[in-house]
Symmetry: C2
Subunit: 368 residues, 2 copies
């Protein structure tokens, strides 16, 4: 019997070893992870299924501008990486704040909703803005024996920079601009309340809780908002804030645009140069646009979209080859860039350079 | 004066050298090329612009089923590679057959269109099928001093496997099935006529002309047709035909499906295994389908599409990590595969393995 048991244990160990050696994943008890590429977190799989957020889908419905959703979530993960290293921590979608909790926090404060983080409406003809637009929880785990233990949490708070309202139903829309200092102030007020509420939960009493503040872009923006501050909190009250200096821009810059929403003139020139080369190369090109992000004043990445009508697969292949060369020659070096090549709103090819790489890779979408 | 001239010549040479050393391109006179990745042709750029086909757009309008367009063009390039090596030849979109010429050849033969390759309509209640559906010319060039010389041509002929017609305007549609032997016979008849016409042109008298025959998939197929024969012709008449044994399939196989349009049972099992793992991993997965191609009975490549609703960027990132691992573990080894991960018909990420590689690469489409 002992021998048999040993054999079984051996097989289990071997199977675990095979599983563990396939990708960078590991299997502990009922948990496995998604595996990771360099610089990204592994995610938690429990019982073979991905562990989705307890508040899944809330933020999708909170954003009229979907750029605010994507940039909020990507940006939040980038903030987390400053505190929780991707090597030591495993990412888990938020398991402590439910849809109900987040929805009540995002509501206006009222007798039926005492936890609302937004102020009472006030006069309908001159309402108080709703400041807090979205909240997201991220959990950071480490492996401990056969299980995963919560070792940190990040909370993102998205604060509106504009408030749209109607004075009467079916009436025209009015917009109140919310100043940067008010965005910051309202974000910090909400952060203090949220931290206090989280610390009342037993599981969250002692872990580090990072809170990050995000300024939402207006609903008609072609690029999302940015994070502007975060705090890493060990205690019950918010400790000092660290400023973050990100700026997003749309390229090419419209000639009359203010500096607020456009790139630096050098980056804009380099992009314009790329754009005119590409437009000269291929007939009837309908669009070459980009989202650019600046960190501490330096260009830190670009997402480029090229839209045109292709008439054959060989045109797509040749165009992709050309773009791969033109990107290397004309676009700024040393930053991650991706270029979507599409036609009839369907992606035909992608050209991209990862962070830290010097070369562009490409893939053409074919069909049998 | 001589010194100045030398300096200018030197600068031009230097500029040419810089241009030539950037990518695998070369600059000869007024021509440059698109550069190439391994195993693909370089394309011709003339005066800074891509040289599009003289019959640009004709085949786009010829195909009700766009899968027939993509697979015809990709397949034709694959046939060309058997004769014209990607190392020695440069690809040029067809410059000898104009839109007018191809449109007249694709029409029915009549007194006003004597060159039509399709038979007269005959009785409206029982019309002769239109056999020839699309024709494509590809030119293969080599560098010769300062210019490019035409050194070969490939002509693809797409032959219908079904003919749809109405007996009267606004009446119901009828379908005539065209047998494989008739597809082959009609293709060979058209090939002989086309070769004869091409040889009458001065520039095409002596170059090798490859003709390849393609059987169109029905209009409702979820995968395109395949090439089934080609000939490499030095003279005025078609020399011997080489058979090609390709088959396309859609996976997973519907249980009642005949073998004609489905994968082998092993490949289907391996795909079903992958599919059920993925469906177990992620909630509400709405679709995992694939196009598979078989060459001489062996699986030679797959295009997989996964469609689901994602609720956050972290879900997309984790899902992509998981797919990268699951693809390596469950899908057949040693063949090129790509996996489109999409939501709301927008691509969110791609996972792919190139021909000859063992590892999958991935890219997630983000936004600022």
């Amino acid at each position: 019997m002992k021998v048999k048991k040993l054999l079984i244990t051996g097989s289990v160990l071997l199977a675990t070893f095979i599983l563990a050696s396939c990708g960078k994943s590991s299997s502990k008890g009922n948990y496995t992870t998604t595996g990771s590429s360099s610089g990204t977190y592994q995610g938690v799989i429990k019982g073979g299924r991905y562990r989705t957020s307890k508040a899944r889908g809330v933020n999708t419905s909170q954003n009229n501008n979907q750029y605010n959703l994507k940039s909020f979530e990507n940006g939040l993960t980038e903030v987390s990486k400053r505190v929780f290293s991707t090597k030591n921590y495993i990412f888990q979608e938020g398991q402590y704040l439910s849809s109900d909790t987040i929805e009540s926090w995002l509501g206006r404060k009222s007798s039926s909703n005492p936890n609302g983080l937004n102020p009472k409406q006030g006069k309908k003809s001159n309402p108080n803005p709703e400041y807090i637009q979205q909240i997201e929880e991220q959990d950071y785990m480490t492996e401990s024996g056969n299980s995963l233990k919560l070792k940190g949490m990040t909370i993102g708070i998205g604060i509106n920079s504009e408030y749209r309202y109607q004075k009467k139903t079916d009436g025209p829309y009015y917009t109140k601009k919310i100043s940067d200092s008010e965005v910051e102030q309202q974000g910090k007020i909400a952060a203090a309340k949220i931290l206090k509420r989280l610390r009342q939960r037993k599981a969250l009493k002692n872990i580090p809780i990072v809170i990050a503040l995000y300024k939402q872009a207006p609903d008609d923006s072609l690029v999302g908002g940015t994070f502007f501050a975060y705090s890493n909190n060990k205690g019950k009250t918010v400790s000092s804030w660290t400023k973050l200096n990100y700026r997003n821009a749309v390229l090419p810059k419209a000639s009359a645009e203010t500096s607020e929403n456009s790139g630096s003139s050098t980056d804009n020139d380099s992009f314009s140069n790329f754009k005119s080369q590409v437009q000269n190369f291929f007939p009837n090109l309908s669009g070459v646009t980009a989202q650019a992000q600046y960190h501490n004043g330096n260009l830190s990445g670009m997402h480029i979209t090229i839209t045109t009508q292709f008439y054959s697969q060989s045109e797509i292949t040749s165009f992709t080859q050309y773009i791969t060369r033109a990107a290397k020659r004309y676009l700024p070096h040393g930053i991650p860039i991706d270029i979507k090549i599409q036609s009839d709103s369907e992606m035909q090819a992608v050209v991209y350079r990862n962070s830290g790489s010097d070369n562009f890779q490409s893939h053409v979408f074919n069909s049998y």
